[in-house]
């Protein structure tokens, strides 16, 4: 984990309040899907965590959704601007040895799964993705997923694109779900909580988002309760957890 300054190569709006940033990272060591960087922002005292959404050489992609003044500031950074980052933080995903793998992305939560899909496809592991959002214009990165996934299934809560219904309802009906050896999910907490209860037999790993203090395990600000009733640090033990090991 290092602190570095990284120039913005591209800032593109993907949908309402959704932005994609490409940054050039000098001296980048290997990064794993699930890992994140802590971004210094102007409007808030603490950094904001963004997961790695994709990689091309020394360039990393991050996708953010504006939720407050901090992310709004980050959404407006211009090409050439230098950002202050710390990372990579957190434990990455251990890439499974065999597939097929199923990826379940809800809203902006699809972003970190894209990088996982790319790493899986590089390793020759088949993976299918369900990309879900509330409505059509909030669907992100669908074309990119198509480049690296065997199949990409789109669903929207309102039916404006792809299957109609909540991601968890759609997942239950898909034959890819039963075939998958392991599932990875990232999305809003209600989606992850619902996934816990649909009786999937395979392991499901959840990429968690949390309010973080430091992102480095120093402050214990980003707690998630485990099955053992203890709190675990999303930043250090996570952000990827076996869904059965955590309480949502």
């Amino acid at each position: 984990m290092i602190r570095l300054k990284a120039p913005v190569l591209e800032n593109r709006e993907l949908g309402p309040g959704l932005y994609s940033l490409w940054l050039a990272i000098e001296g980048l060591n290997e990064v794993q899907p699930g890992q994140f960087f802590e971004f210094r922002i102007r409007e808030r005292f603490l950094r904001r965590a963004l997961s790695i959404a994709d990689q091309k050489g020394r360039n990393l992609r991050f996708v953010l959704k504006t939720v407050g003044s901090g992310t709004q500031w980050l959404a407006q950074v211009r090409v050439g601007e230098m950002l202050d980052l710390i990372g990579p933080c957190g434990q990455g995903v251990k890439i499974p040895d065999q597939g097929p793998v199923m990826l379940l992305g809800g809203g902006v939560g699809s972003a970190p799964l894209l990088y996982l899909a790319r790493r899986l496809s590089e390793k020759g592991i088949k993976n299918d993705a369900v990309i879900a959002a509330c409505t059509r214009n909030e669907l992100i990165l669908v074309e990119e997923f198509k480049e690296v996934c065997r199949e990409v299934i789109v669903s929207t809560d309102d039916g404006s694109s792809g299957h109609k219904g909540l991601l968890t309802e759609v997942v239950r009906t898909l034959h890819q779900t039963t075939q998958a050896k392991v599932l990875y999910a990232c999305g809003p907490e209600p989606m992850l909580a619902a996934l816990k209860n649909i009786g999937l037999k395979q392991p499901v790993y959840a990429f968690l988002e949390s309010r973080m203090g430091c992102g480095m395990g120093l402050c214990v600000g980003c707690a998630v309760k485990g099955r053992d009733s203890r709190y675990h640090r999303v930043c250090l033990e996570g952000p990827v957890f076996d869904l059965t090991e955590i309480e949502l």
């Binding site: 602190r3 210094r40 102007r42 409007e43 808030r44 005292f45 603490l46 950094r47 710390i86 949390s210 309010r211 973080m212 203090g213 430091c214 480095m216 395990g217 120093l218 402050c219 214990v220 600000g221 980003c222 707690a223 998630v224 309760k225 009733s229 203890r230 709190y231």
Partner: protein, 298 residues
């Protein structure tokens, strides 16, 4: 940059504050450069801490409600102490509900060679029992400090609160009961509201405020208290720069803790130390001792 506090000499006045650097097991390149490190608060039994969310921030504040999550005395002794840094004096922050708790911790740890000293946490705003409830009463501050004094010859710092109490009285109580220094101050009581839910935002219902916004308040307290007690004052409140440290020294602090800024940048202490050295050069100051408490009247 040396500073003396009692019989102890610190390599510089910077101290990593409790709760912002874990148990000192990471970032050794930072720890070896500061004057001292204070561990996360230890309690007799393990504590799982408060429900999330535990942290909120604005441009100049952090509000936390971690609630003294820690491994407890036994695991601290078996798992943490053997790994504790030796490159810098480590002060162990102790928290408890009553005298019995402090006795239970200080009896086994009081003479441990790996520990430089203790910081009694009589000021945590995020626990229902003990913490600030002890620190708001000068009688209880006196009792806990005197008990600690009887159980260790190592330096005892007493970390106090300015919430709902007279800081002058509790500081005097700590000094009279044998403390080596008072640490001013722990986080300030704070409430963050989630308007949509009509509820407090933090899982614990309230939290403790820190960050640059508290600095003027804490500077004032440090100046007032350092004038009326005859033991050293250690400042803790919103330091983000070498200039802030310089101000606290002028106001009367002998050591200065860095807290919230460590969460933004774990290497902040190194930058702040360089800034302080630059400032000393520019101001023609040779040693921190030359400026401690030298704030002039208007």
């Amino acid at each position: 940059m040396n500073v003396k506090l009692g019989k102890t000499t610190f390599r510089n006045p910077l101290v990593l504050a409790s709760g912002t650097f874990g148990y000192g097991l990471t970032f050794p390149e930072v720890i070896e450069k500061v004057g001292a490190l204070v561990t996360k608060g230890i309690t007799v039994e393990e504590r799982i801490g408060n429900p999330p969310p535990r942290i909120w921030d604005s441009a100049e504040t952090v509000v936390n409600s971690v609630g003294l999550e820690n491994v407890g005395l036994q695991r601290f002794q078996t798992e943490i102490l053997p790994m504790i840094p030796t490159s810098t004096p480590v002060y162990v922050n102790l928290a408890g509900v009553d005298l019995g708790d402090f006795k239970s911790i200080l009896q086994p740890l009081g003479q441990d060679q790996r520990i430089a000293g203790f910081e009694l946490n009589l000021s945590c705003p995020n626990v229902k029992e003990g913490g600030a409830a002890l620190g708001q009463s000068s009688r209880k501050v006196s009792e806990v400090t005197a008990l600690a004094r009887s159980l260790t010859v190592k330096p005892i710092w007493v970390k106090l609160t300015s919430n709902f109490c007279d800081v002058r009285e509790i500081s005097k109580a700590a000094a009279d009961a044998g403390a080596d220094a008072v640490v001013l101050v722990n986080t300030l009581n704070a409430l963050v509201i989630d308007v949509e839910k009509r509820k407090p935002f933090l899982g614990a219902g309230s939290g403790g405020l820190s960050g640059p916004a508290v600095k003027p308040h804490v500077l004032y307290i440090v100046r007032e208290i350092s004038r009326i007690i005859d033991i050293p004052v250690i400042a803790s409140g919103g330091v983000v720069s070498g200039l802030d440290v310089f101000e606290y020294l002028l106001a009367g602090a002998r050591l200065v803790q860095l807290g919230s800024i460590n969460l933004v940048d774990p290497g902040a202490a190194l930058r702040i130390l360089e800034e302080l050295k630059d400032l000393f050069r520019r101001e023609g100051v040779n040693s921190p001792t030359e400026i401690i408490g030298r704030l002039e009247d208007r």
